[in-house]
Symmetry: C2
């Protein structure tokens, strides 16, 4: 029989233990932080009716959609984000859920993208959103969640850059560009990557701005300085109700975030942050790593006031953000922040004397009961082979007992990094595992 | 614009917070138990080349496969279990992974099944497997893992029923039925559900056994009693090398599992356990809930010696089991084992005085720093509305501060179950949160 080639699909990847362990840690951290603010988990199917998903993320995501017919001839597709399923979910259950509704959702999404530049066609998103809240409190809290998340993930140097769509629209209104604002913001969103010249070209070309106004748009987006200085510089430019409201919201957000304990340098007002998607209506945010700004935003989001409008007539405003888990994982790998281990436990119990199989098993069970994870080597091979395995996997300790040790109630504990061994008592005088052993293995 | 109906696909379901929270707890428990034995996590794509998945689970799973062509015209399909992707994975990376290789994998799988009897087309499997180990140690450990898992999930009454394919094949060999053994075992697997009459009919009908041998097969499968009694009764029947080896393996497994500390009544030798899939070659196991045996096995598995043979010439034996997470969740719901809460935190901080927004935010941040999750109500609505929300969500406490409390450094703590309130100091004398407050909120 011919062998089938064992391979993954183009654009997809496997996660081996050394990458999957930190990936699980990231997800656990995200869950812990989201929960601490009262966000509750939900899950939705990978497959949805095609009509639920098409026309939501623009032409690009329609093209990238994995779609087909199921066994019942229904047109179905794999979700391309967690936001459209959220809109469907909230429209479907809002009476049951009650508002405000705060949820997080961690799960894979699929996009048939070009696979250049390390982009994959399946990746995990970690979203949190607050539905049904008009007040700025939810915007403030979203920034606080992102801040706590990156702190909990072990980052010191990162910056959450915030802006406000009302302010941007107000500024464009002052320039008499209100009608072209969505298109202009889509172009402006490319400023950090494409650069000024390219953006000016698009503004004056496809969007037909005169060069004075194109320059002014770029000048405003390029304003830098302290939050207070930027607010002051924007104040005279943001005339009209919308612009003033946006400025007031930003100002309140920055004040409260600092009052809640976030160091000022971690939250920066940035007039160039525009976000590409049309549905944002207020606060918008992106998050950059101080040591690796070039990979772009690793956590982005904002306020949207009309997300559920395709499914229900009830107006449900929302705000939230999405952590790009796999992009962040790649960044942490590049920054050397991931531990290179391939085992989730610290201790390997060697299998030295086949006569004592059930004794080894009992000892391993007692260690686990004491909260110490332990892998028991499954075959009574030569000790050298077992220690080589332990080394390769990255265990901290090997616990070794031969027939002498079983007789004397002692064990050898080998520190695999230093190569040193010491002998310890297995039990204290009263039949419990000895405190020295437990302390050494917990270290 | 016409609204799109917000609905899930037939055969699929959403998880709302009250169901998703216990579901996440189940997954966390499974991860913790698997890790404590040294199993490390992996992940593989939801989509695989169709040729990887077809012809692995039999005709039935081929029919249920979700398959289509991707954007590059490749024939792809959604995985229907986590075992076939494991075989592909191990064949692809075995040099990198090293043996023995112990992995767990938690993820959704898809089957276009008939949706009768509460079966869904997407469900989560929680698998653990040990690859590359011939010795019985891995079999013993698999039973121990399942035992620890159900204990950690909160079950007292459950039973792991074990059997051995070598023993079954040896018994059939003694009856001169070796050549039909795979087909007979598939029929025997239906015994608990279909009953004796139906199984006899299939054995004597489609499989053409004479009625004496059909009766003997059913009689053997129906032997009951203590493990020792069953072993004794099977001993004279299991003639030949294979049967004796199977019996010796079972006997060693039962001895060691008990020696490792598992109560005898939790692991039962059951000659009727056959497992439907052809690929098992040794130990097989199923797990039943004492209070709800009718839902069938909630965790099943066994030893397979040739799983990777379609992808590689290297022989890689394995043993493992799969927890049917969503079926177990449904069982726990039926048994009243799930707490009916819709919030992951115990405390709601009411928003009473809009002037103090940043004070509330700061207090919530300090509580979170102290390890106490807290949801801040996002709008300064009437207290009654906020308390109603807190009640409905299932918070334990509401923490209430108005302008008087902020002035005096006190707070009102309302126990939402009893309806009683008490006043507490916010801080101790030295600017830290008061120990009474922290103790009350942790309760």
């Amino acid at each position: 029989m011919a062998l089938i080639e064992a391979r993954t699909l183009k654009g997809f990847r496997d996660y081996l233990p050394e990458t999957m362990m930190p990936r699980e840690r990231l997800m656990e951290t995200a869950r812990r932080v989201y929960r601490s603010y009262g966000f509750a988990p939900i899950d939705t199917p990978a497959l949805e009716y095609e009509e639920i998903l098409t026309g939501k993320g623009g032409e690009e995501s329609d093209k990238q959609l994995y779609r087909f017919e199921d066994h019942g001839g229904r047109k179905v597709a794999l979700r391309f984000d967690l936001t459209v399923p959220l809109a469907r979910f909230v429209a479907q259950y809002h009476n049951e859920l009650g508002l405000p509704f705060k949820r997080y959702h961690i799960g894979p999404v699929w996009r048939g993208e070009n696979t250049q530049r390390g982009r994959y066609r399946e990746f995990v998103q970690c979203d949190f959103d607050t539905i049904g809240v008009e007040t700025i409190t939810a915007d403030i809290e979203s920034v606080l969640v992102v801040h706590d998340l990156f702190r909990a993930l072990g980052f010191e140097k990162f910056q959450i850059r915030v802006n406000n769509r009302k302010l941007l629209n107000g500024l464009l209104e002052s320039l008499d560009l209100a009608e072209r604002s969505a298109a202009i913001l889509r172009v402006l969103d490319k400023l950090p990557k494409a650069g000024e010249a390219k953006v000016r070209e698009e503004l004056t070309g496809a969007l037909a701005l005169d060069s004075a106004r194109a320059d002014e748009v770029i000048r405003i987006a390029s304003i830098q300085g302290s939050n207070a200085a930027i607010l002051a510089e924007l104040k005279p430019l943001a005339r009209g109700e919308k612009g003033e409201q946006g400025l007031a919201e930003l100002s309140e957000l920055l004040r409260c975030v600092e009052a809640a304990g976030v160091p000022a340098e971690r939250v920066q007002l940035d007039p160039s942050i525009a976000r590409g998607l049309d549905y944002y209506t207020g606060t918008i945010l992106e998050t950059f790593l101080g040591d690796l700004p070039a990979i772009g935003s690793v956590c982005s989001g904002g306020r949207y006031d009309n997300l559920t409008q395709l499914y229900t007539k009830e107006r449900m405003p929302g705000i939230g953000a999405s952590l790009g888990l796999d992009r962040l994982l790649a960044a942490m790998e590049e920054l050397g922040m991931l531990e290179k281990r391939r085992t989730p436990v610290g201790v390997m119990l060697a299998f030295f004397d086949a006569q004592h199989l059930s004794d080894y098993l009992r000892l391993a069970a007692r260690l686990r009961e004491a909260g110490i994870g332990v892998e028991f080597y499954p075959e009574p091979k030569k000790l050298g082979a077992q220690l080589k395995y332990a080394d390769r996997r990255g265990f901290r300790h090997a616990l070794i007992l031969g027939s002498d040790e079983w007789k004397n109630g002692r064990c050898q504990l080998k520190d695999l990094a230093s190569g040193t061994s010491r002998e310890l008592a297995l039990e204290d005088g009263r039949g419990a595992l000895s405190p020295e052993l437990l302390a050494a293995l917990s270290a």
